[in-house]
């Protein structure tokens, strides 16, 4: 695995996966803020995205020109295969730990 995946990095990757073809800056930010219920600055988000690009977990491409946003293009992000593998490895590790946890962790819903 290429590099260690931090908690916020994992969240960003999963959010991008959730958004699918619509994963660009503001969308990722809003989705994350809504779901995780925390305030994220655009600088922090893009810093993390840049790091993920460095690590080879994300690629990006520019979209077409838009009417809103002063005609500026959007940059869309996509997960790479490495990212999917890393996320899967992370999930299986978690599942394993949840499964073998000796303290009862389940929610009573």
């Amino acid at each position: 695995m290429k590099g260690y995946l931090g908690e916020f990095e994992e969240l960003v990757l999963l959010t991008i996966a959730t958004l699918g073809k619509e994963a660009y800056g503001v969308a990722i930010k809003e989705e994350l803020e809504k779901r995780a219920n925390r305030r994220i600055s655009i600088g922090a988000l893009h810093a993390t995205i840049s790091r993920l690009e460095d690590k080879g977990f994300l690629t990006s491409y520019m979209g077409g020109a838009t009417a809103e946003r002063g005609g500026r293009r959007k940059r869309f992000f996509e997960l790479t295969r490495e990212a999917v593998e890393a996320l899967a490895a992370m999930k299986s590790l978690r599942d394993e730990l949840w499964h073998s946890a000796q303290i009862k962790l389940g929610f009573s819903k």
């Binding site: 800056g25 655009i42 600088g43 893009h46 838009t66 500026r72 940059r75």
Partner: protein, 880 residues
């Protein structure tokens, strides 16, 4: 719904685009705007604007922006972090550029080697001093009690301390061991008619527990059990006993008597503050004191010379109790006299050899002040050499600029250019280090040679792991230091300007900085030249100084304990001897002894210098009496009269000579003496000391020298006669010297001083001339075409010479204008510490110094410009 009335804050956008060009952050700007209008829908415009600002700020400092800029600016490979490959490349390029410009490389390496050599010396000295006493296993637990004596005139600190202190300190629980040392174990050791002068300490067995000195033979616990036991070092034992086994042999040391060798000491490391050939038992000291051989001091608080108290302390934290204990003892025992305050201090072993002035120290002391001067001097040599490197490097930017432009244009980064020049500088420094080390090995022995033998003790300046480490650190730091400025200068060159035809890198501005550096160097060089010339001037002056007494044809004979009257009778039998006088000291050659005179009105005492002489002393030395008379022919042994100098009358007795006559002085020991004569002021000590209140006293038991006035044409025969006369009275060797010689020798310290300053001056001048040479060669090179064109248009060789030399002449003139008053002022400021009576700096010596500088600098400049001026323009222009 977009309301065109609201716009994202333009200032924020401007701010963002300041940091990053807009095309790089198109998507981000879009995101920001989208967010802004979303906020405008639900929130106030103020909120939206504030939020916008916040986001912009968060972006400006984010990694995202940094990365985009980096990616946009450089080829992807430029950013790779493979430094090893680049490092290799830096070295290759540096090597090629150094090899291509051999002349400048040689000038730089030579200059830096000279500049660094003196720094290496300083580092070696510091490393050596640092290693002193480190061989003791408990060196961080060992302390010494020093004695600080504060009298009304000065505060003096002694390394020694009174003997009774030891018993009090033994009571402290934190003190593991107390070692008492008594330095008075010295003399000629006699074994089977072999006499070898040796010295050492009386001490107790705890000596071996505390210090890491070793015994080759004998048991450290019992070897000093008997008062007559004596330990001797292996090398001295070899001298004294040859191949006999020394153990159990009896040797004698006059006047202490017989000793029995009970052990052999391993020769101690040289880097020890304690030096000894012998170790005796401390139990012998009270015996010798009772016999009257040594001065009593066992229970006296006012006797502390040559007696040392060392402690081994259990741990550092215990020092507080010990310090307050010492403070209490200091308060209780004030034995000397009411004006003097005595304090006992705890001195850790690391301070034994380095730091403040301490008298009566058993080992050499490297004082901070001279070391600082040494540091400043080595910087004065090193810095110009570094300047030269920067100077020449930058001056060559004309030829290097294009190379850098091309490098930058094909993707080299600022930091890479920076590193490349740094590597070049480090390479030059390494080469110079080799040269500097060679020079260092040469000056090392010279340096140890000119040091006073005392302070050179144990100083080897050999390579040790510490020294090597220090040297390496120095080379790296020096390399970085000299490379930093040129590297920075080249890194910031804009590729566009560098590649454009006919660039010249802001000529006037940079040139003025370089000029300033050259002027600075010549100022330093001239300073050194002037100092040497002044010192020589001063040395001549001191030798011819009118001291106020006659110093010719007077032979001083050291009495060495024989009766002066017997010798006088023998000497007067010789026809060559005219008169004989006696004195306690040799006049004008050393510091005079001093005593205290009580002042009746004010109850305090004044410091007065004195000397014991006999009736004929004054007339023999031609010392004039202003008022009164000399000692009466029938002077009694009971001292009752003195002859004072005019300064004493002026300072202590209101200056009236007539009133002063017959005035009574009360001495500090309670004696009252009457003034019978007043002499003119004369230099009773060397010219280092100013003339202070002084008086002659009459006390025959204090006489140590016979002063013999002779009229002789055959010195050799006369000396033979004197030696014969002496031989009838004593078994010892005659020790006699002419007064003028003794006085001349008192200034022999001028030679090492001159040698050091002269050598440093030579280094400084070499460095500056090399720097100048580099600059001149560059100028001539850069102006070859100009010179050619000028000549074609009819300029004469002379005019060309003036053209090329003018600038340098101007710089040297400025250096002279700065250096002359500065050196003059510094010399006048420092000189009172060297000599109290000295000549004024003469105009001729200033002119001579300036002439020497002009000659050297002129020769350097002319060597290049003459050739350039004489070149046929056809030669230089034919390549166009």
């Amino acid at each position: 719904m977009i309301n065109p009335k609201y716009q994202p804050p333009r200032l924020a956008n401007w701010l963002l685009t300041r940091f990053c060009s807009p095309e790089l952050v198109e998507d981000l700007l879009g995101d920001l705007e989208e967010q802004f209008y979303a906020h405008c829908k639900h929130q106030s415009i103020t909120f939206a604007t504030g939020y916008y600002y916040q986001e912009v700020l968060s972006l400006i400092f984010s990694y995202a922006l940094k990365k985009r800029k980096k990616d946009a600016a450089w080829h992807p490979y430029a950013n790779s972090s493979n430094h090893i490959v680049m490092l290799k490349n830096y070295f290759t390029v540096a090597y090629r550029s150094l090899a291509k410009q051999k002349f400048f490389t040689i000038v730089n390496v030579l200059g830096l080697a000279i500049g660094m050599s003196i720094s290496l010396l300083l580092i070696a000295v510091i490393a050596d001093v640092y290693e002193y006493d480190k061989f003791h296993a408990h060196h961080d637990q060992i302390y010494r009690i020093s004695t600080r004596v504060a009298d009304p005139v000065r505060v003096t600190e002694y390394a020694s301390s009174p003997v009774p202190l030891a018993d009090i300190l033994k009571e402290y629980p934190e003190v593991e061991a107390v070692v008492q040392l008594d330095k008075r174990l010295s003399g000629e050791v006699n074994y089977q008619n072999k006499f070898i002068p040796m010295s050492g300490f009386f001490t107790d067995p705890s000596f071996f527990e505390t210090f890491s000195f070793e015994l080759l033979e004998g048991n450290p616990k019992t070897a000093l059990a008997h008062p007559n036991n004596l330990l001797i070092t292996a090398s001295e034992a070899r001298k004294l006993f040859s191949y006999d086994d020394p153990i159990g042999k009896t040797v004698s040391i006059e006047p202490m008597g017989d000793f029995i060798i009970s052990g052999i000491l391993k020769d101690h490391p040289k880097k020890s503050h304690l030096h000894f050939d012998l170790i005796g038992s401390y139990a012998k000291v009270p015996l010798l004191e009772n016999q009257g051989v040594l001065e009593k001091g066992a229970d006296r608080w006012d006797q502390f010379r040559n007696r040392y108290t060392y402690l081994k302390v259990s741990q550092e934290s215990a020092l507080a109790g010990l310090n307050s204990g010492l403070h209490r003892i200091s308060e209780e025992k004030q034995a000397i006299n009411p004006d003097t305050k005595v304090t006992y201090l705890l001195q850790p072993m690391r301070d034994f050899n380095f730091g403040r002035t301490i008298y009566n120290s058993p080992g050499p002391i490297w004082e901070l002040y001279p070391m600082m001067i040494f540091l400043v001097l080595s910087l004065l040599i090193l810095l110009p050499a570094c300047f030269n490197y920067a100077n020449i490097s930058i001056a060559r930017s004309l030829s290097r600029a294009r190379e850098i432009g091309v490098r930058k244009a094909i993707g080299s980064r600022k930091s890479q250019i920076f590193y490349q020049f740094l590597v070049e500088a480090v390479l030059v420094t390494l080469l110079s280090f080799a040269g500097a080390y060679l020079l260092f090995t040469y000056i090392r022995d010279e340096f140890i040679g000119v040091l006073a033998p005392g302070s050179a003790q144990g100083l080897t300046l050999q390579l040790t792991p510490t020294t090597v480490l220090f040297f390496l650190a120095f080379v790296v730091v020096a390399g970085l230091a000299i490379g930093l400025f040129p590297a920075w200068h080249f890194a910031k060159i804009e590729p566009l300007t560098a590649l454009k035809q006919n660039v010249f890198i802001s000529r006037s501005n940079k040139l003025s900085l370089r000029k300033a550096l050259l002027v600075g160097q010549f100022t330093i060089s001239l300073g050194f030249i002037m100092t040497v010339v002044f010192f020589i001037d001063q040395y001549r002056y001191t030798l011819n100084y009118e001291m106020g007494f006659n110093q010719d044809n007077i032979l001083n004979i050291d009495l060495q304990g024989i009766d002066y009257r017997l010798l006088e009778t023998e000497l007067l039998k010789m026809p060559e001897v005219e008169r004989v006088a006696h004195s306690s000291q040799i006049i004008g050659a050393s510091r005079a002894d001093k005593t205290w005179v009580m002042n009746e009105d004010t109850q305090d005492s004044s410091e007065v210098f004195h000397q014991f002489v006999d009736q004929s002393y004054l007339s023999l030395h031609g010392i004039n009496l202003l008022v009164g008379e000399s000692f009466p022919e029938s002077a009694t042994h009971d001292e009752s009269v003195v002859i004072v100098n005019d300064k004493l009358v002026e300072k202590l007795l209101d200056g009236n000579q007539v009133d002063a006559l017959n005035h009574t002085l009360k001495l500090s020991d309670g004696k009252e003496v009457r003034i019978i004569g007043i002499t003119a002021n004369f230099n009773y000590a060397t010219l280092k000391d100013s003339i202070q209140p002084f008086f002659f006293r009459y006390q025959p038991e204090q006489f140590r020298y016979a002063n013999v006035e002779m009229r002789t044409t055959d010195l050799f025969a006369t000396m033979y006669k004197v030696r014969e006369a002496w031989g009838q009275l004593s078994d010892r060797k005659l020790s006699a010297k002419f007064l003028s010689d003794t006085i001349g020798e008192a200034y022999s310290w001028y030679w090492p001083l001159l040698k050091i300053v002269g050598f440093l001056g030579l280094l400084a001048i070499s460095v500056s001339c090399l720097g100048l040479l580099g600059m001149v060669v560059l100028t001539v090179e850069n102006r070859t075409k100009e010179v050619g064109i000028r000549k074609v248009h009819g300029a004469s060789s002379g005019r060309i010479l003036i053209l090329l030399t003018k600038d340098y002449l101007k710089m040297i003139t400025i250096a002279v204008v700065i250096a002359v008053p500065l050196t003059y002022a510094l010399f006048n400021l420092m000189n009172p510490f060297i000599l109290k009576y000295r000549p004024d700096v003469s105009v001729s010596s200033i002119l001579l110094s300036v002439f020497i500088l002009l000659l050297l600098a002129g020769a350097t400049v002319a060597s290049q410009t003459l050739r350039a001026a004489a070149t046929n323009p056809a030669e230089t222009l034919k390549y166009e």
